[in-house]
């Protein structure tokens, strides 16, 4: 296996692991946002809970955008990897 192919494989795997991390982080943010929104809806709940729930919601949106950016990079890395794996013309 050539050094270029090894590097391309490492890049692709690294991107996949980063996406996995971000998906987990987004899932936690979504879960917190929902939990706090539910608590904020209880009678007598502190008004700040709604604001904190909104912060998690915004964090989730930011993470979702980062995931899509990384997915685009992954598609490019995947194409480069397949180019290196493919037989020469």
């Amino acid at each position: 296996m050539s050094d270029a192919l090894k590097a391309a494989e490492a890049t692709e795997l690294g991107l996949r692991e980063q996406i996995s991390d971000l998906v987990h982080a987004r899932s936690r943010a979504d879960s917190e946002s929902k939990r706090l929104a539910d608590r904020a809806a209880l009678p007598g709940a502190h008004v700040e809970l709604t604001e904190i729930a909104g912060r998690y919601e915004r964090q989730s949106a930011t993470l979702a955008a980062e995931i899509e950016t990384l997915r685009s990079s992954l598609r490019a890395a995947e194409a480069e990897l397949e180019r290196l794996r493919a037989p020469d013309d």
Binding site: E12, R16, E17, I19, S20, H24, S27, E78
Partner: protein
């Protein structure tokens, strides 16, 4: 003169042995010869950058636009024949993914059917306008990892029905458990994108 001839003779023997061993190594490394006139097929590459057969709790699977986290895995063993079922969750959405590598890889996406008035047993069953034929029934040992809703391990009964790529499955964990009913569809492995959890090596 005699010494020179002896040295020459020894050199020829050593040289011959080296050439012979190199030839054997090359032969061992090349595998079976490709059929004449056909290009050598490339080695199988992992699907979507990671092998679906190696899926485990914590990995992420992208399927039909959703990023699903593997929250639980059931591993079955029926007398040495093994398959896995993974519980995938994306927020409020959840599904099951079964991975069998018997005579080729078969991946099925399943949805649990809640409250379906179905019982396994007859040769054919109808559900949702599809008529399924009995395909297989049996027992298997299983272990559970993560969150699956099943006990940590034990015996499971299963009854499988099929109609083309459509599947209907009954599974029961332990003798006192009720039947879990699922409807599924065989999918191409290439429709999945796998994002392994960090440092898991696959």
């Amino acid at each position: 003169m005699e010494a020179i001839l002896i040295l020459l003779f020894i050199g020829l023997i050593i040289g011959g042995a080296v050439v012979f061993m190199r030839g054997r190594k090359a032969e061992a490394g090349s595998g079976p010869p490709a059929p004449a006139g056909l290009p050598q097929a490339p080695a199988a590459e992992p699907i979507g950058g990671a092998d679906v057969r190696a899926l485990k709790v914590g990995d992420v699977v992208n399927y039909e636009g959703g990023d699903y986290i593997v929250e639980g895995t059931l591993r079955f063993d029926q007398g040495g024949f093994r398959w896995d079922e993974h519980r995938l969750v994306d927020g409020p959405k959840s599904l099951w993914l079964s991975v069998e590598d018997d005579e080729g890889l078969e991946i099925v996406v399943w949805q649990r059917l809640r409250g379906a008035a179905l019982e396994p047993g007859p040769g054919t069953l109808e559900h949702g306008g599809v008529t399924y034929e009995l395909d297989e029934r049996g027992h298997a040992d299983f272990t559970s990892e993560g969150t699956t809703g099943a006990p940590g391990g034990g015996k499971a009964d299963f009854v499988d029905y099929a109609n083309g790529d459509e599947r209907l499955a009954f599974e029961r964990y332990g003798k006192d458990g009720g039947w879990e009913i699922s409807a599924g569809r065989v999918i191409s492995e290439h429709t999945l994108d796998i994002y392994p959890s960090r440092g898991a090596g696959g």
